[in-house]
Assembly symmetry: C2
Homo-oligomer: 352 residues x 2
């Protein structure tokens, strides 16, 4: 007997699904989703449902007070008979930290994996199998109770939705330096994956896109001097042939891809440095050639080369090379994720 229920309509939804040729990132939605509700201190039995709209009260705290935390992770099935999750344990732990920061109930590890695996198993026949493709999983937890009193909900829902995705083929886009607005301050919620962090970055991100850049690069809230991260990706620079990334300063999201690169890079011969990175110093190092390359990383793009950093007045600082070190790291990481190379850190787990 399964530990969760399967709603009527799931088989039909799965049978009706055909994987399109063009996947993009988030454009195609898997035909099933997982849901489990929390009330009075207890998680109820979960259920696998056909994918579809969900009902919320208009005055619910998830809407009115952004009481939602989420995760993003991938299941790979490239040259394998079964799906393989990458560092899902770390996503589970981070989602627990996110929930704690917002004083929401924690999703237990067993429930987290039940949801992830239920969706992954049901979708296994159509997890795309070309290198770089995967099933992107988006678990999230939100407060369902209506009410204006400033406190947490007394009822919650944990869900997992999924998307068959292809690898981001982005070229090497430029990034817009954001010198005015602030994404996250120390003492705030920047270190956890809460929907609220993204609201603060929407205007700068939309403006960056409108100006022809891919996204905004954020600086620290106090001095507007130190690099934090891109909206949704961590930042790396290659300086004198070594890797530098902003240290976790209490406002940056501790990315799992970031951590994976910090562990993999030394095996490829790159020294790594986590330190406060002053933007203006870095711009000088791009000018002098000491900084030879920039890239960003995250679950979606894995490793994304950056073509240059654009000031608000469009002066753009372009490093001499793009996608050299980045490509080596992406290839090495993807080889572990797709189980083409040994997995020295025990990051990959087959879904039975």
């Amino acid at each position: 007997m399964s530990a969760y229920d399967i709603a009527p309509g799931v088989d039909a939804a799965l049978a009706a699904f055909t994987l399109p040729e063009k996947l993009g990132f988030g454009a195609v939605t898997a035909p099933v989703m997982f849901s489990a509700e929390w009330e009075e201190g207890t998680w109820r039995r979960g259920i696998l449902l056909p994918y579809g709209r969900i009902e919320v009260w208009p005055g619910s705290r998830v809407l009115q007070y952004a009481e939602l935390v989420f995760e993003g992770l991938k299941a790979y099935k490239v040259g394998q008979s079964r799906a393989n999750l990458f560092r899902a344990q770390d996503n589970c732990r981070r989602m627990q930290r996110s929930a704690e920061r917002l004083a929401m109930p924690v999703v237990p590890e067993t429930l987290f994996f039940q949801g992830i695996k239920a969706v992954t198993r049901a979708c296994a026949p159509f997890i795309p199998a070309r290198s770089g493709q995967s099933l992107y999983l988006r678990p999230f937890l939100y407060g369902t109770e209506s009410g204006y009193l400033l406190r947490n909900s007394k009822s919650f829902r944990f869900m997992v939705i999924a998307n068959p995705v292809e690898s981001y083929a982005t070229g090497a886009p430029t990034v817009a330096i954001e010198r005015q607005e602030v994404r996250a301050a120390q003492g705030g919620i920047g270190t956890v994956k809460a929907s609220a962090n993204y609201a603060a970055s929407l205007r700068a991100s939309s403006r960056a896109l409108a100006r022809g850049h891919t996204v905004a690069l954020w600086l620290d809230a106090t001095e507007h001097r130190y690099i934090q991260e891109l909206s949704g990706m961590n930042f790396f620079a290659v300086i004198d042939g070594e890797l530098h990334t902003p240290e976790l300063d209490g406002a940056i999201l501790p990315g799992i891809t970031r951590d994976s690169l910090l562990k993999l890079a030394p095996r490829l011969g790159y020294a790594v440095h986590e330190r406060p990175m002053a933007l203006d110093e870095l711009l000088g190092q791009i000018g002098s050639g000491r900084c030879s390359e920039l890239f960003a990383c995250g679950t979606a793009a894995i490793v994304m080369p950056i073509g240059g950093l654009a000031e608000p007045d469009e002066r753009t600082f372009r490093p001499a090379q793009t996608d050299q070190v980045a490509a080596r790291l992406r290839t090495a990481l993807l080889a572990v994720q797709e189980r083409r190379e040994p997995d020295p850190f025990g990051w990959v787990r087959e879904v039975a």
Copy 2:
């Protein structure tokens, strides 16, 4: 012909509604709600609907990226045959500023008032009529598009829900000084009414409640030295018989009740000061007796006396008096809102 549609079921929902004796604040929901959708640069025709759950895509930006801004305002019908809105024009303008800060489409003034008035008119027969009671209106705007790309939605929905409410009878609760966590930083979104601001304050607010206080008192993000606001209310102190409130520092919400008090108080003989207010200086002034009273203000509570400020170690600084100046201001403001006194600033507008 009405400028908006009326859904089947609205008449039945209105006919079935009975106003309960006990209203609380948000516990009773009005039986109708207003909705209008935005797509491709155009607002579609609005509709009045029976109150009920709304459908959202699980991957929608309102959920995943907290793409939601809202307002709160009241319609009074105390001793009047028709409902009267208080400073609704200011709520409309603030909602437009909120939308701009998140790069969302602005709700035009005509649509904002169409929604507010449609709900107010339909609910007019049961707007509670005892002094301090009112119909609380909650307009909100959110992004409905699914997708993980960090930019705004391409489709939006404007809604108005409402609650018959009674006056907060809170006594003079204590407030928990929050010395670690941060609600909003300059350059962030604290100055607008976005759901995301409340997510950041949930843990501190829930902790404050658990410790027996009503809510948290926030300090500035940089130095943790200057008073900002309570989660959801602005802060005032009576010092040497004059009113002091933190100046709008680029992180505080410019409350409409705050502004109303700053304008009304001089007519009652109180000098008013907007200035940076260092917390430790204020605690000293409470100790010496120079600060005689504290209170908070907002649309919900109007003017809420504060019994004292509690440090994390529970040392509590209690001013010598509570609800003296606060009561005078509340009475004066409510008299304008309920049209028992002249309205020198043109704040009140009858809903025809």
